[in-house]
């Protein structure tokens, strides 16, 4: 008991561990310090995200065009709704956690167990939701073209609506063999080939004169920008991506180098390459925190069930794991803002 919870009163000797200058037990204090360091780690990640975003402020993807999926609503553009739902799930699991801590203060074992159980369920739903979000992000929806210069070209129709590669790409009688270990010499292999080749996209674009190209660049609606004859000024909207004229679109497409479908750590169909890297890294690191939080919650949950804390007459362990759980929620509040809203 003494090793995890200090119940000594202040009569004990100062050097015997009975003195608590900050008014918190050793374990709780260390949890706070861990949270401080972890908060700084996440701050570092988000600040690095801010750095890259400010560096490429003109070409950064717009979050509400990337995260538009909602379960069972296929093809409907529902920006923000899903991630808002995830936020509510996490906030609610925070509430059940704090209710568990509150029940612990009253040494109400069955209530603690019940609320811990709800918290675990909430955490699992959140991790599952994040996996679904990743699936959509990795799989992609529209596809895009990367040029030799490294910029990304997306396709829109006459009304400015995004068009999928599969809706216009031609089928050419070409055969591009996938290089894998069994065919290559000395450990040569390559990643999965895109569904369409560059030539097929180019041919398809030529065959569909109504299509236009949308660049990564955010359009600025001012007099200087209006002079640019390469830009379709009707479809391009202020603070949205620039749409090119048909002639310029054809010229740009000649520079195509890759067909990009979905996202990986090298390139993604949404825009800036760093965008996907930061998405995977920051939401992944947060998801890992949620996952480890669920594991710790399960351990504490079973300890509650077998009556460990009942015997101790103190549910402080629930409080400590609660601190961690709320911290995970806290981080999500910031990730939500800086990844999806701002």
């Amino acid at each position: 008991m003494g090793s995890t919870v200090t119940t000594a009163n202040s009569d004990e000797k100062t050097w015997g561990g009975g003195n608590q200058p900050l008014g918190a037990d050793y374990g709780k204090l260390m949890m706070w310090f861990f949270i401080v360091s972890d908060a700084l780690t996440f701050s570092g990640f988000l600040a690095a995200y801010g750095f890259s975003r400010f560096k490429f402020i003109d070409t950064w993807p717009l979050a509400d065009e990337v995260f538009t999926h909602f379960p069972f609503m296929h093809g409907v553009s529902a920006p923000m709704y899903y991630v808002a739902l995830m936020t509510f799930i996490l906030i609610f699991s925070s509430v059940t956690m704090v209710l568990a801590v509150d029940a612990g203060h009253h040494l109400n074992k069955s209530k603690v167990a019940f609320y811990m159980f709800l918290t675990i369920i909430g955490g699992l739903i959140f991790v599952g939701s994040q996996a679904w979000e990743w699936k959509n992000f990795i799989h992609g929806e529209y596809g895009a073209i990367e040029t030799k210069g490294g910029s990304l070209l997306q396709f829109v129709d006459k009304t400015g609506k995004r068009v999928k590669l599969e809706d216009f790409a031609a089928t050419l009688p070409e055969d591009r063999e996938h290089l894998d270990r069994s065919k290559g010499r000395w450990f040569m292999e390559e990643g999965t080939l895109p569904t369409y080749s560059v030539a097929e996209v180019q041919a398809g674009f030529k065959a569909h004169p109504e299509l236009l190209i949308r660049t990564e660049v955010l359009y600025k609606d001012d007099a200087a920008a209006k002079q640019d004859t390469k830009v379709d000024h009707v479809l391009s909207k202020h603070k949205h991506k620039t749409v090119l004229t048909r002639a310029e679109s054809e010229a740009r497409l000649l520079n195509a180098a890759y067909v990009v479908e979905g996202a990986n750590l090298v390139r993604n169909e949404y825009g800036s390459k760093l965008f996907a890297d930061f998405f995977f890294f920051i939401t992944g690191f947060h998801g890992f925190h949620v996952f480890s939080g669920v594991i710790i919650n399960i351990i504490i949950f079973f300890n509650v069930l077998i009556g460990t804390y009942e015997k101790r007459r103190s549910y402080e362990m629930v409080e400590k794991v609660g601190l961690y759980w709320h911290f995970v929620d806290l981080v999500w509040v910031f990730v939500f803002t800086f990844f999806y809203l701002v």
Partner: protein, 116 residues
Amino acid sequence: MSQEHVSNINRIWLVFGILSVVTTVEVFLGIVKPDFLHMNNFLSMNLLNWIFIILTIFKAYYIVWAFMHMEGEKSSLRWTVVAPIIFLVIYLLFILLVEADYIYEVFKNATIKWNF
């Protein structure tokens, strides 16, 4: 238990209500993006983003103070935890964002095209 704990379940639900309302407002603004907020800048950031960031800090305050029960801790513990984070985060953001903006200008005014 060194101190007597009163049940504060009502407060927990109140804070949950506040957090939910704030999140709903954020999502609503994020979807609608009203022009008078999105197109007007204050200190070279648009008003909408200012609102998002202020609401986020508002939510963070409630999570730390009510859920993590910071309000019940000694002020020495409060300062030990909160002060270093606020100082270091502002410091880090200041350096990184100013530098990033500088690099953006360098790329923009460079004679070499780097992304075309």
